[in-house]
Symmetry: C2
Subunit: 339 residues, 2 copies
């Protein structure tokens, strides 16, 4: 590839850490955010790797986010762990809450981590993979901003509302993991179409008048559609409810109002659930694992791919060769964030 | 309407109960199954109302289902309730487990009911509505038979795998509820197209060679597709894992093998989760309810419909007029089940 530069994993982290420190993020936040971006970059996920530093720094620049707030945990004997981020970026609060979520999932069979009052811009799968690495099944959802119209609607009311799930596979090199937006397109994809001047496919966006459009500029001024018609729309509403009001936090409509039109990351909550297959299978875990593996084998035998296979392949390749590649332009713009 | 007959709600139950008793179902099973069918019939859900008696009786006729087995509950201090149906129809086991699920969700904030070793043919929303009526959010999933191909695949590996969710709305006449198959079409819909000799829409089915088809007969010999492309496929795999191996029960592949080609209901497990909004919102339930209602109001203001609105309208109308309508042909065939 031309016009790219190579960074070792530790150079990726150092680049992120330096930028975050420069902008005043507290030590633990620098660590949690840089770890997330490096994990995504290692998987060649350009949209959620170092590129996300721009949104992160823009959020700092707006001056409303708490850059060094320590999360406040609420722990009791129940299966619910609360981590109040206190208006900081979500990642430090998630890291503080996860060990307690794991402990409670093992104790009760199922547990919920409610992360509250956080700015959120990250992928969900790295957190899911931390739970599958502990032998737990996991499920996570977040709202965002009200950019997505419900099926049959005319304007934004729902977030891009990603939904992520993981299943541990003790006998396989990687877990089963997916993490996708319930919008038909990611918002970043529409921006890419707009920049390239290419028309959108049918059925992914509405214009400002609520009419279907394939013009990416009109779509940016209008609303995105959910994937899968009324079913995807119902799921998106579920994400709003589970990751918002259920845990005492904002919907995407609330979050958009909170942002007052500023280009900062959405501010809301995140729900993470963990399930202990050993407890839930009633001691039949070995047989259950074998059943799951037979299903994965049948899917593979048909030539169908499991989700995340491209990411896992990129990770293996980048780990083996010892570097990731990013474009020189991105690298230059990232360095300029410290000016 | 011509060629229909009117049945009062109590006549619906009596018809179901008489048929179930005739075929040897135990008292508690008669009660649980008839209640489910009557609930669906009241909502004008023809596919899951009295019509389901055919599958129920066919399952009894095959002689492998336990018609009178009492469910065995496993209860401990954890957030997991197990209800082993012992090879009976699922509904009695669900009814036995639900009060304990409610109690544990209130105690721990979240709880799981694992229903095992059951024949399953019913809609999920009536069980979801029992939980929303207790002020809990709820989530349920079941596998079925391996009739559905994964995205990029060529043959059945996944079930129709419905996914149902409910959110209590204390201030509204009905809860927010959805219950849909993760297949693009319900299997019953394809049968209806086949009977009517109508071609299927594009993208819902494959033929026996794994090629896309619009011929409903070819689709019955081939496989259905999931809704929403690779995202719906990922969700369907999640349903397999959560409602199968996670709770120590069968996948749709296992269930299909178990049935040995006999026309009985699929035999597997069911997972039901309940969430206590009071605990999970950290005491902010009133504010959270208001946030959820603002979202519902915005969706309604756009002219978009919430899921289940048609069902709720049918229920209100049928309750008010005091009867449901079914076709004379269905009524005649149902009466013949006792011959």
């Amino acid at each position: 590839m031309s016009d790219t530069i190579r960074l070792t994993p530790s150079e990726v982290r150092t680049l992120a850490e330096g930028t975050l420190k420069h902008w005043g993020f507290g030590f633990d936040h620098v660590d949690a955010i840089a770890a997330m971006l490096a994990t995504c970059q290692l998987d060649d996920c350009q949209s959620h790797g170092l590129f996300r530093l721009f949104m992160c720094i823009e959020t700092a620049r707006q001056g409303r986010a708490a850059l060094a707030a320590e999360p406040v945990l609420t722990l009791d004997e129940s299966a619910v762990v609360r981590a109040d981020a206190g208006g900081a970026i979500s990642l430090r609060a998630v890291q503080a809450g996860l060990p307690h979520l794991v402990e409670r999932a093992r104790r009760h069979g199922v547990a919920v981590l409610a992360v509250n009052h956080c700015y959120h811009f990250s992928a969900l799968w790295p957190e899911i993979e931390q739970l599958t690495a502990q032998g737990l099944a996991a499920f996570s959802m977040v709202p965002s901003h009200a950019w997505v119209a419900p099926a049959g609607g005319t304007r934004g009311a729902l977030g891009t509302n990603p939904l992520a799930f993981g299943w541990p596979r003790p006998a396989a090199p990687e877990p089963f993991v997916f993490d996708f937006a319930t919008s038909a397109f990611a918002r970043g994809e529409i921006e890419l179409y707009a920049r390239a001047g290419r028309p959108l496919p049918e059925g992914v966006a509405l214009d400002a008048a609520g009419q279907p459009t394939t013009d990416p500029q009109a779509a940016m001024a209008g609303a995105m559609c959910t994937f899968g018609g009324y079913k995807g729309s119902a799921l998106s509403i579920m994400v709003e409810l589970m990751a918002g009001p259920l845990i005492g936090d904002l919907t995407s409509l609330d979050s958009m109002a909170h942002s007052q039109g500023q280009p900062e990351a959405p501010c809301h909550g995140q729900i993470i659930m963990a399930f202990d297959p050993e407890r839930l299978s009633g001691g039949a875990q070995e047989e259950s694992d074998a059943r799951a593996e037979r299903l994965f084998a049948e899917i593979g035998a048909q030539g169908a791919r499991l989700p995340s296979q491209r990411r896992f392949a990129a990770r293996a390749r980048n780990l083996e060769r010892g570097y990731v590649e990013i474009s020189e332009a991105l690298h230059r713009d990232l360095l300029a964030l410290r000016d």
